[in-house]
């Protein structure tokens, strides 16, 4: 019997959404890690003989008002945007998960205070809050990470708190206490692994959201600073030429959509795989 179970476990194919998302992200990752081998031109080289060229074979995505190749800039930008996806979510995801697990299990007044903080923060739109913090700290990617981290961990903590709360009422949590285990062991060894799946899935979605946020801030001039190629900055660069040179904004926009789709698919596939594992 256990042989068939082992066989079944080995041959389960991940859902197509997971594979699709992973494929998209792998392409983007390759662009991000070794753009110099993939991009046909330098992202910052001006070429005044070919300004605002529409897409051609030589420049598949066209060129901008300084004659820079849009394809190359979009490819180089992926490294900045994937950095945003990772650095803007890493701290909130980890810290929020830890805080949420403890709060969900311990409850009491720390939990009550946390819930009030959540209530207050949720009344303010996330983007507005981040913009305010970045405006105070000064524009730039580093400050954007700080701003997002300062706010975003609360979302993770809230999610994790609810999950841990639900898991803590299950019998195996009581069994853990009956075995004489301390709260730290119960929270991090028993409850967290059972409660972490929704957070992982949200993390993937959040990476897409943070890329959009990074692009929005870049567009507003608060995120990555020119001449750094970043998708939002690229779109902003193209906005004055929207009627005459649509390709300047459209192609970086498609890149954002692609990255967002990749992360969403990955999160989706991960969710259905974790559900199946139950």
């Amino acid at each position: 019997m256990s042989a068939t179970i082992a066989a079944r476990r080995r041959f389960v194919l991940p859902p197509w959404s997971l594979l699709g998302g992973a494929a998209i992200l792998l392409v983007l990752l390759a662009c991000a890690v070794v753009p110099e081998y993939i991009a046909p031109y330098s992202p910052t080289n001006f070429d005044f003989r070919s300004l605002l060229q529409p897409p051609t074979l030589a420049h598949p995505f066209g060129t901008d008002n300084f004659g820079r190749d849009i394809l190359s800039r979009t490819i180089w930008a992926s490294s900045v945007d994937l950095q945003i996806a990772i650095f803007a979510t890493l701290f909130p995801a980890i810290f929020g998960t830890l805080v949420g697990s403890v709060l969900g299990y311990v409850g009491g007044w720390p939990d009550a205070i946390f819930r009030r903080i959540v209530d207050v923060l949720i009344t303010i739109p996330f983007l507005v809050l981040v913009i305010v913090i970045v405006a105070v700290l000064g524009p730039g990617l580093g400050n954007m990470y700080i701003a997002v981290s300062a706010v975003n961990w609360i979302i993770y903590a809230r999610l994790m708190r609810g999950e841990v709360l639900a898991q803590a009422s299950r019998d195996y949590a009581a069994a853990g206490r009956v075995m004489g285990y301390g709260p730290i062991r119960i929270i991090f060894r028993h409850l967290l692994p059972n409660a972490v799946a929704p957070v992982l899935v949200y993390w993937m979605t959040d990476m897409a959201l943070e890329i959009l946020l990074g692009s929005s801030l870049g567009y507003l001039g608060l995120g990555a600073q020119p001449p750094t190629a970043e998708w939002g900055v690229l779109i902003a660069d193209g906005k004055n030429f929207m009627t005459t040179a649509w390709w300047m904004s459209i192609f970086p926009g498609i890149a954002i959509v692609l990255a967002g789709t990749g992360f969403s698919l990955l999160g989706d596939g991960l969710a259905s795989m974790l559900r199946r594992g139950r």
Partner: protein, 320 residues
């Protein structure tokens, strides 16, 4: 003989209700005690109260003397050594009482590590022995299995193995067989009895199944609406109950001798713990009730050798 665990005046108050109200129980070394009662009689709640597993909203009073210390006032770190180390507990639902994401073996070795400081290969060997002890075939290979790869009965066995890992002196079993098939029930009960002998433990079995009690226990306590109605040796209590409630319970059991006849049952339903009747709590549903039953407090009084009853009509009931 001094009791292993001596419970006096155990009460649990939740909100305005008192679902457990002044329970006195003694558990002797090597004894199997059955606690029976309907749903809501406070039987599971009492068990959890002893190990202090109830949420803080539940106010627990009384004493539970274990090795000369009161479990209900013991500081939490000391309590943790008692839980699992000296008193273990198995639950009704083996499906949910094992952690779904950890292999069975790990869940047993974890307890060995915490309580006996046994780790690595030694812990693994001991875990295999324990699985063997509870009758799981091919134990060494089963260690790496996850709970969902076990059947219900096997999970309950694994749960028992994990509970026994640290060599407890008392095992509390909260409806250990309710969720299982009848054939598996029998196996698990026999297993519990065998382990009790081999490991020289005392066992408390909480159940609503009188058949389980009759088949396994030395002594039984009948709970109703948070109070002990009657205690005594299983044999005498079942043949000559001295409380009207016990008699009612026994008469509502279907049995082969009176097949296809109408079951007697007990009319009415248990009282709401927030609105208890005065006098004997069973009086409103009792066929033996007199006016005197509806006033005053009841205390357990000897009705036969070793048998205590809270019924003022014990003699009439025993004659019935």
């Amino acid at each position: 003989m001094t009791p292993l665990l001596s419970i006096r005046g155990l009460s649990v108050q939740i909100g305005r209700g008192t679902p457990v109200d002044g329970i006195d129980l003694d558990i002797a070394p090597g004894e199997t005690l059955g606690i029976v009662g309907e749903s809501g009689s406070g039987k599971s709640l009492s068990l959890r109260a002893i190990l202090r597993l109830l949420p803080p909203q539940a106010k627990v009073t009384g004493t539970a003397i274990w090795n000369g210390v009161d479990l209900l006032t013991l500081p939490e770190p000391d309590m943790r050594r008692v839980r699992g180390g000296q008193i273990a507990m198995v639950f009704q639902e083996p499906m949910t009482a094992l952690n779904p994401v950890l292999p069975i073996g790990l869940q047993i070795t974890e307890s060995l590590g915490v309580h006996l400081n046994l780790r690595g290969a030694a812990a693994k060997t001991r875990a295999t022995e324990l699985l063997d002890l509870v009758g799981i075939p091919d134990a060494s290979r089963r260690l790496s299995n996850y709970p969902h790869e076990f059947s219900g009965g096997m999970r309950q066995r694994a749960m028992i193995a994990a509970a026994l890992a640290s060599g407890p002196k008392l095992l509390l079993a909260d409806e250990p067989t309710t969720a299982l098939d009848v054939t598996i029930q029998d196996q698990i009960l026999k297993l519990l009895l065998r382990l009790k002998e081999e490991l020289a433990m005392s066992v408390v079995i909480v159940t609503h199944d009188l058949g389980v009690v009759a088949g396994t226990c030395d002594r039984v306590a009948v709970l109703y609406a948070g109070k002990v109605m009657e205690t005594g040796p299983v044999r005498t209590l079942f043949t000559r109950p001295s409380h009207a409630y016990t008699l009612g319970l026994l008469r509502s059991l279907p049995d082969a001798a009176h097949a296809r006849q109408r079951l007697e049952g007990i009319a009415g339903s248990p009282p709401d713990p927030g609105a208890l009747p005065p006098g004997c709590r069973f009086a409103p549903r009792c066929g033996f009730a007199l006016d005197a039953c509806r006033i005053g407090d009841r205390v357990l009084a000897p009705s036969a050798p070793d048998q205590l009853s809270a019924c003022i009509r014990a003699e009439t009931v025993m004659a019935a």
